[in-house]
Amino acid sequence: MTFGTKRAGTQKIMRTVLLVSALTSVLIVVLIFVFTVGRAAPAFHEIGIWKMVSDTTWRPGSGEFGILAMIAGSGIVTLGAVLLGVPLALGSAVFLAEIAPEWIAGAVRPSIELLAGIPSVVYGLFGMAVIVPVVRTIPAPGNAGYGVLSASVVLAVMILPTVTSISELAIRSVPAEYREGSLALGATKWETVRRVLIPAAKPGIVSAVILGLGRALGETVAMIMVIGNSAILPAASTGNPLSIFLSRARTLTGNIAVEISYATGVHESALFATGVVLFVLIMLINSLAALLLKKGVR
């Protein structure tokens, strides 16, 4: 009798303990929100949210805290990474899911997955040692190799495993009946891939790309190491608009990391504000992914 009560008691206590564990994440999210927004509030208050996000001048020494240059930096470097990385990732995903013989896929898949495990600081180092010197050979005024292009190349490699593995999964989870149905109508394998499998896997592929985008926007250290970190609006240095990719830039993440340890007062608050803007951007992107997924399922 008492033993039974004790058992029931333990059961009840554990149930509560586990529920509290489950709610830990909510608590952390709330704390993150309260503290970053709280610490950002003075900057938003003194400078004004709109002025911060629309002003391109970041000069903490003279009290100028516009972060548009960093928003643009994050944006263009992410765009570059998506342009370079996504085609390769989707190609690899289709290759792994539909084309490669099983033994080759079995060797290629872990190779690509290994890329996901490599620390971002190693990518940064590789970028400094290999990619920056290559980019430096492009003749353009002021091109030192450190800049948007190098950062985009590094980021493209970093998002490759995420986008590849989620897209492959999406293609693989298309029901086998679709594949059979299409082949039985006399479609070639490629026609089946292009007209049935990829359209059916589209929601998954789109969310893979958006997850890659989120990862790219959030990357910090590798960006600091190769992008040059100048808090300026990226701009073309020659008549060729593509030379904008040779411009130095700074990302939102880099802005925080580079300056937080010595910043005080409004400057520190402005860095927290940068964090809030980054957080909001990434939340927007994630909800966009969720929305597109829902629409895609229909």
């Binding site: 058992r7 489950a22 994440s25 390769l88 190779s111 600081v121 490629w190 990391a257 340890s261």
Partner: protein, 284 residues
């Protein structure tokens, strides 16, 4: 007809090229780091601490120690709530749909999804605001590990939940039918059966901590001394690579440290693959 075959051949060549290219990229990145880094690695490299200096003299001893402490302390913070949350989601939340607890479960899930999407620098910023400054713990292993725990809690929850879900429901039914209650069933039957899967998740999380730089860049300081307590600052191997490359431009030492990191990642990946391989092998 011929055109259809031709376009298939053209498309498939491109896909082969993409697959080969991806493998090449991996080989070049890993190969370059290993080729440039391995020659600088000796026994002394592991047993001496960095001495500062402009060319990054010394080895990586203290950074190994710091990395190890940080991983252990971070896991200690993250495993209990992470595994606990996963157990709740997998074993307890089924019967709560619609009730108040059900709403809490939805909220908790939303929390996990949100947390998983937070960029690591924001965790760093949070750790800096709360642990380093507000709680006045300073740049320390304690501050850094609490901030790091936020990063890996969602990882542990997801992998543990997957591991629990793959435990056949017959195990649970068998135990419940013998008169065990839900908690006894979970503790004595389900968790042991999911042990390998949970270990994989923990190994994966340890890898994330070893690799992470941004969070610790703003919460751990950068001291290259051997830490003597939880309140000591320090630098992990990953941070050491950063400082060597950015502040001393000692690329050779940075490459050697990076080679150690990459080697560690490869070993961990192999470990994870072996564990999961055994799991699937067992289920067949």
């Amino acid at each position: 007809m011929n055109r259809r075959k031709l376009s298939q051949n053209a498309a498939f060549s491109l896909f082969w090229a993409a697959g080969i290219m991806s493998v090449l990229i991996m080989a070049v990145v890993v190969g370059y780091v290993l080729v440039k880094g391995l020659p600088g690695i000796s026994f002394d490299f592991f047993t001496t601490s960095p001495r500062g200096g402009l060319s990054g003299e010394g080895g990586i001893y203290s950074t190994i120690v710091t990395t190890f402490y940080l991983v252990v302390v971070t896991l200690a913070f993250a495993i209990p709530p992470g595994v606990g949350a996963a157990v709740y989601f997998s074993e307890y939340s089924g019967s709560t749909v619609g009730s108040l607890t059900g709403k809490l479960v939805d909220l908790a899930r939303f929390g996990v999804d949100t947390l998983a999407g937070v960029p690591s620098i924001v965790f760093g910023l949070f750790g800096y605001a709360v642990f380093v400054t507000a709680m006045d713990l300073g740049f320390s292993i304690l501050s850094a590990s609490m901030a790091g725990a936020c990063l890996i809690i969602p990882v542990i929850i997801r992998t543990t939940e997957d591991a629990l879900k793959s435990v056949p429901s017959g195990y649970r039914e068998g135990s419940l039918a013998l008169g065990a209650n839900r908690w006894e069933t979970t503790w004595k039957v389900v968790l042991p059966a999911a042990f390998r899967g949970i270990s994989t998740g923990i190994l994966l999380s340890a890898g994330r901590i070893v690799s992470e730089t941004a969070i610790f860049f703003v919460t751990l300081g950068g001291s290259y001394r051997v830490p003597h307590s939880l309140m000591s600052g320090g630098r992990t191997m990953a941070l050491h690579v950063y400082y060597l490359a950015m502040e001393t431009r000692a690329f050779d030492r940075a490459m050697s440290t990076a080679a150690v990191l990459v080697g560690l990642v490869v070993v961990m990946n192999l470990g994870i693959n072996t564990i999961t391989g055994r799991i699937t092998g067992k289920q067949r």
